[in-house]
């Protein structure tokens, strides 16, 4: 579903990604872990071209995103993204946050989108907040709203960029539960995370990154149970 070939990303003199090759199948749940500054988030953001790769190719559903004439906006509709800092639209109501994109892009009428938003809000228990602005929600509620905002576009893959890192500890659970539900429903997902327990439980494959390369890739059991490289052993000894 997503293929990355020879991906490199430079910011000025600093090379953040130094040759990434990876392939993600439909239905896979891939977690990316690694120390901060290892390039995890940059890799994720290159997948939907929020960052433009300096070199290499990104393919999504058989189309090369990095090709010159690709309609990236159209492909992004099918790639939901959830950010560390939620990035909800503060000037719109909770409902409008969900319906804006599908209506503006002509995929749904306002009535259809409202109905869909009603279902999504019911799912995350925020039905009574539909007419309020996101400023009034708790961190956990905000992130769950951000997730269903992406779902409203009916994406084929979801990208999570440290979805729980900005949350108070007591709110992490409710967000992870929602992500686990999506995983159980078969959603393809790629997530950058610091929650090792969550990665182990949800992911069927884990990529360990350090200094701009994927150092190890394996099933959770193997990766956590039998780390091959010194760098991964060192990292795990610090975070587990």
């Amino acid at each position: 579903m997503i293929t990355v070939k020879g991906l490199r990303k430079r910011f000025g003199d600093a090379e953040v990604l130094r040759g990434i090759d990876e392939h993600v199948e439909q239905g896979e749940k891939v977690a990316i872990i690694g120390p901060s500054g290892s390039g995890k988030s940059t890799l994720l953001r290159c997948l939907n071209l929020l960052e433009t790769p300096s070199e290499g190719e990104v393919w999504f559903e058989g189309v090369q995103l990095t090709a010159k004439n690709t309609d990236v906006d159209r492909l992004r509709r099918k790639m939901g993204m959830v950010f560390q800092h939620f990035n909800l639209f503060p000037h719109l109501t909770v409902r409008k946050n969900i319906t804006l994109a599908p209506v503006l892009l002509g995929l749904q009428t306002q009535a259809e989108a409202d109905e869909n938003a009603g279902r999504l809000l019911k799912r995350i228990g925020l039905t009574d907040k539909a007419a309020e602005h996101p400023g009034r929600l708790s961190g956990g509620q905000k992130q769950r709203l951000a997730i269903v905002r992406s779902l409203a576009m009916k994406p084929d893959v979801m990208l999570f960029d440290e979805p729980t890192s900005a949350l108070d500890p007591e709110m992490v659970g409710e967000v992870l539960d929602l992500i686990k539900e999506l995983a159980a429903e078969g959603m393809t997902m790629i997530m950058v995370t610091h929650e090792m327990g969550f990665a182990r439980e949800v992911a069927n494959r884990i990529l360990f990154m350090d200094e701009g390369v994927i150092v190890e890739r394996n099933t959770p059991g193997e990766l956590f149970g039998r780390p091959q490289s010194a760098r991964l052993r060192d990292f795990l000894s610090k975070v587990l």
């Binding site: 950010f83 503060p90 804006l100």
Partner: protein
């Protein structure tokens, strides 16, 4: 006794300056002209400012619109680098020297072009103050650059820019007083004409000042109410 004398004196002066020969008309006609120039210039300034800010920000974000950006920067440099009065005189006596356009319109055009430069930078500041994550969220949902700009960045930018915009509105209103230099009879000129008839400067100039102040107070109230409404929506 003294008080009565003062009062007689005052009412005589008032009669001379405003009642006699219907001189109050200089003030009311002047006020109408002042407001007309301000409103037309404001609409023009907002339109110009919006377009210029959009060009500047789009160029800085995406590297596109390069030639337009150069024009926009030249415009900003020239307009902000020269006095409004020089611009007014230049537009009136050079550019529109042989035009049959009403002079009040020429003046409004001049003030609009002037104000547009300041409003452009105010808008640009407002757009840059919106968190980068907002446009990333919009783009990641599949909205294109323009849609993201219009529906997500602009509404927040305008709200952020409102205090500075209010400032500019007030400046613009008062700056129209230089339109008298090209023989537009706005409020200040109206007061000055009365002075030249009655040889009394205090009465008409005080009246003009009080009227300006009154309009500014109303404007402040309106802007405050608008700001309050927009801010409330953020927290509800």
């Amino acid at each position: 006794m003294w008080l009565e004398l003062q009062w007689r004196n005052f009412s005589d002066q008032f009669y001379d300056n405003f009642i006699k020969d219907n001189r109050w008309r200089y003030m009311t006609n002047g006020l109408v002209n002042t407001l007309t120039i301000t409103v037309v210039a404001l609409a023009l300034g907002l339109a110009i400012g919006f377009v210029i800010a959009y060009i500047r920000v789009t160029h800085d974000n995406t590297g596109k619109l390069r030639p337009f950006n150069s024009i926009a920067r030249l415009y900003l440099t020239v307009i902000r680098g020269t006095p409004a009065l020089v611009q007014l005189l230049f537009i009136y006596f050079v550019i529109f020297a042989n035009s049959s356009l009403p002079k009040i319109l020429v003046a409004a055009l001049s003030f609009g072009i002037n104000s547009g430069a300041y409003i452009a930078e105010i808008f640009r500041g407002g757009m840059m103050s919106v968190d980068k994550g907002q446009s990333e969220a919009g783009r990641s949902l599949g909205l294109n650059y323009g849609q993201t700009m219009w529906r997500i960045i602009m509404p927040q930018a305008v709200k952020n820019a409102l205090p500075a915009l209010g400032n500019e509105f007030i400046t613009l209103l008062k700056e129209t007083s230089i339109a008298g230099f090209v023989a537009v009879q706005e409020l200040t000129k109206g007061a000055d004409i009365i002075r030249s008839r009655t040889y009394n400067a205090f009465m008409p100039l005080t009246a003009a000042a009080v009227i300006y102040l009154g309009i500014v107070l109303i404007l402040e109230k309106l802007l405050g109410a608008l700001e309050g409404r927009l801010r409330r929506s953020d927290h509800r």
